[in-house]
């Protein structure tokens, strides 16, 4: 089963994209700057407002952010490659019209059924983390994180 992590009540106004976690850390790019989220309880956020929209650190063509001596593959406004199936066969189903995220096991058991409100409609992604420990649902105005 998955449970939603509680995020700070404000991180960004409008997101451009996010990275998959590395060492439980993800990066969010917004029009305000670069935001570093350390996943845990609670989620800790550090804001770097020197680089709105990722500044020169973000290459929207390759969708790679070079930041903090590391490179992050970004999913969001400029596209992305979400991981839609876990190593155990769990699948992500994102119904953009009904605005429902479902994670379904091989045996059709629903592990997560999450309704959300998308006030943008421009783009949305749901993905597993590379270690399949987390599921991320991202839309321009919101980021939702679920942990096993």
């Amino acid at each position: 089963m998955f449970k939603q992590l509680t995020l700070p009540n404000y991180i960004f106004e409008r997101m451009i994209g996010f990275s998959l976690p590395k060492r439980d850390k993800i990066i969010v790019i917004s029009y305000e700057g670069i935001h570093e989220l350390v996943l845990g309880a609670p989620v800790m956020v550090t804001h770097d407002t020197l680089h709105p929209e990722g500044g020169t650190l973000y290459d929207s063509q390759s969708r790679i952010l070079s930041y903090d001596n590391d490179k992050f593959k970004i999913i969001g406004l400029h596209g992305g490659e979400p991981i839609l199936q876990s190593n155990t066969g769990e699948k992500i189903h994102l119904d953009k019209q009904k605005q429902i995220l479902r994670i379904v096991q091989n045996d059709s058991k629903v592990l997560l059924n999450f309704s959300y409100e998308d006030l943008s409609g421009d783009w949305n992604y749901a993905t597993f983390s590379e270690d399949f420990k987390y599921v991320f649902l991202a839309i321009p105005y919101n980021l939702f994180i679920f942990q096993r």
Binding site: N9, Y10, E32, E53, L119, S120, D122, P140
Partner: protein
């Protein structure tokens, strides 16, 4: 009531290029330089040149002569030859205008004339008003001017501007009353000396068959008491009968001419002779046959025309030209063009046009819905119309008069039919306009008219107007009815906005709209126009309404009252019309604050996301942010001119391309709501200059 369909007039109002510069002054972002003292009239040789260019391009030379526009410029950036646009446009203009102003107005209004490719050049000269005298195929204004100068002792007959009152006064000082000439020379000699000016050749020939001179004939009439006595107003006059029913009436003492009946003309009053030997009327009146079915009457005072009436075969006055308010005479320029005057029509619809030195001071239109309105009590009179009035600061203010039908739709919607369909629009137009308008429309025009109503309805409900759906529908129907009548294009041109889309018009587009509107209005009043000869006068609309935002806020919506009610003109105020801009923010992302001076201040220069016009969306956002626990979440809003939004939209790019276009606004959330924009640093600076004072709200 018999309705004599009168082939008559059209007005084509062209503003001159310099006038357009004034128009540009109210269109932010347009870059024509301003001329502080614009000359009013294009030199005739330039008009001729344009005519030739127009002819080469296939535009009817009568049209291009009227318009006087640099048609060659049409081959410039705004015109793409080789894609049939030119041919289409030229044919549309030629065929449309020559076919009649009514149908042109209709086609223009419904965007079927495909005029756009030529707009910016074809009409970049400016409004001209030109009432074409197609009464019976003649040119009434040239005819009227000739009739005036032939008979009046006015300096205009010497080719000097009739506006030159000082010269006229000097000229009159050297005019000798004909009675004095008679006293000096005797009646016979005085008449003989002016016989070629007074009498037609057939009369002189007839006289010379029996007498050696005209003087001898006159002397014979007097000496031998051959004159007959006629009584006019209780006074006796002596009539010298000429051939073909013509006569000269002398006063009782035979010391003065009282009246002449020569050909179809009658002249009566005080006659004189100027320093150049010209005989004419100083004071009095003249009547003449303008064509087979129309007569004209001129009233003169001190050699100037003080009133001109055109009447139909039943002696009903169709139109009246008079001095503009405050003047004592109708003013012509040296070219015979009316310059300062007023024109009033007396057909089924009432049109009043007042012009000073070529500029429109007042232009009003009223269409009663009942042809017998004149016998109705005041509370039962119903009609619609508009007026445009020039303010003392050079701007214009308009008012519109609404019919009861409009008021009912405004309050309760249009019952019983879908006005976006052919059947629905037929019913609606029939209720809003006299029946003949719908009868003139073919199926395609009805389809296009229904679409125009839909376009306007969509626009008026798109936010920023504050109309209810019923109000938006009423306005959409009303403006579309105005297309047919002509005043909507006219007002769109004056205000510089297309009411079907909210698009700001270029100077050329405005000029053409004004021209088409003016043509259509008078064309409708006189039952259609068979335009076009070069005419008479050159009014221009100088500047455009500036006090629009004030007008918008003071809009009078007392639509429940009985009788004609006027509203200020909200639908045409796009250039100055405001749109409320919303932003939901909380403590962490505060960008808008109230400054120390009480004015709104924008903090920071990062991309600023704004919602132009949708209160409902702002409330949705607020609800979400509150649910998510955003501290201090609130809706902040302020107003900007809608033109600012239009400017932003014009250069905005989709969000995904924003990174590659860091200096341009981005469009977001396009599937959720229109006009959701992210403004960059550059636009934020522009926004700061466009925020309307005292409109900031937090709620």
């Amino acid at each position: 009531m018999s309705k004599s369909r009168i082939k008559f007039l059209s007005v084509l109002l062209l503003i001159n290029l310099f006038c357009l510069q004034n128009l540009y002054a109210f269109s932010p972002g347009l870059a024509l330089p301003l001329s502080p003292n614009p000359p009013l009239v294009m030199p005739q040789n330039q008009i001729r040149a344009y005519t030739e260019e127009g002819s080469q391009l296939g535009v009817d030379p009568r049209l291009s002569g009227l318009i006087g526009a640099p048609i060659s410029a049409a081959i410039g950036a705004n015109y793409q030859p080789g894609v049939n646009a030119g041919t289409t446009a030229i044919n549309a203009i030629n065929n449309g205008l020559l076919r009649g102003a009514v149908s042109l107005g209709m086609e223009y209004a419904t965007q079927k004339a495909n005029l756009n490719p030529l707009l910016s050049s074809l009409t970049s000269r400016a409004i001209t008003g030109a009432i074409e005298g197609a009464l019976g195929g003649g040119n009434i204004f040239q005819g009227i001017f000739k009739g005036f100068t032939d008979s009046a002792l006015n300096i205009a007959r010497l080719g000097v501007s009739g506006n030159d009152a000082w010269s006229q006064a000097q000229y009159l000082q050297r005019v000798i009353n004909f009675s004095d000439i008679i006293r000096q020379k005797g009646l016979a000699k005085a008449l003989e000396d002016t016989a070629t000016q007074i009498l037609h050749e057939d009369s002189i020939s007839s006289i010379l068959k029996s007498f050696q001179t005209v003087g001898a004939f006159i002397q014979d009439q007097i000496t031998n008491n051959k004159t007959t006595t006629v009584v006019k107003g209780g006074k006796n006059y002596n009539r010298i009968q000429l051939s073909n029913g013509q006569w000269i009436d002398l006063d009782e003492g035979k010391l003065n001419i009282d009246e002449l009946k020569i050909g179809n003309q009658t002249e009566r009053g005080t006659f004189g002779v100027d320093a150049y030997g010209n005989f004419g009327l100083l004071n009095g009146y003249k009547t003449d046959q303008l064509d087979a079915t129309h007569t004209v009457r001129y009233d003169f005072a001190q050699g100037s025309a003080v009133n001109i009436q055109v009447n139909d075969a039943d002696n009903r006055t169709l139109l009246e030209i008079a001095p503009k308010n405050g003047d004592n005479a109708i003013r012509y320029n040296a070219n015979g063009e009316l310059e300062s005057y007023s024109i009033e029509t007396f057909q089924s619809a009432k049109v009043f046009l007042e012009v000073q030195d070529g500029e429109i001071l007042n232009y009003s239109y009223y269409q009663p819905l009942d042809p017998f309105e004149f016998v109705l009590p005041a509370q039962e009179k119903d009609g619609f119309g508009f007026s445009v009035t020039k303010n003392s600061n050079g701007t214009y203010t308009t008012e519109r008069t609404f019919s009861n039908t409009f008021r009912q739709i405004f309050k309760a919607g249009f019952q019983g039919a879908d006005p976006f369909t052919v059947d629905g629009i037929k019913k609606a137009i029939t209720l809003m306009l006299p029946g003949q308008y719908v009868q003139q429309m073919n199926l395609n025009q009805l389809v296009d008219t229904a679409q125009a109503v839909k376009n306007r309805y969509d626009y008026f409900t798109s936010g920023g107007f504050g109309y209810t759906n019923n109000e938006a529908l009423a306005w959409a129907l009303y403006d579309t009815a105005g297309d047919i009548v002509g005043f909507t294009p006219l007002l769109e041109g004056i205000y510089g906005v297309d009411t079907q889309s909210g698009k700001l018009l270029t100077g050329g587009e405005r000029a053409l709209k004004i021209g088409v509107g003016a043509v259509t209005i008078l064309g409708n009043v006189f039952g259609g126009a068979a335009i076009l000869h070069k005419i008479g006068f050159v009014p221009k609309v100088g500047s455009v309404l500036q006090d629009a935002s004030t007008s918008l806020r003071t809009i009078n919506t007392q639509l429940g009252e009985v009788g004609a009610i006027t509203l200020t003109d909200a639908n045409f105020l796009s250039a100055q019309r405001t749109v409320r801009v919303y932003r939901v923010e909380g403590t962490p992302n505060t960008r808008l604050i109230l400054g120390e001076s009480g004015e709104m201040v924008i903090q920071g220069d990062k991309t600023l996301f704004l919602n132009f016009g949708s209160r409902a969306r702002a409330e949705e956002f607020l609800a979400q942010k509150i649910a998510q626990g955003m501290p201090g979440a609130t809706i902040k809003s302020f107003e900007v001119p809608k033109s600012f939004l239009d400017q932003m939209k014009a250069v905005a790019v989709p969000e995904a391309r924003g990174t590659l276009n860091p200096g341009r606004p981005i469009i977001v959330d396009i599937t959720k709501a229109p006009n959701q924009l992210g403004l960059r640093k550059e636009q934020i600076e522009l926004l700061k200059k466009n925020i309307i004072s005292d409109t900031y709200l937090e709620q």
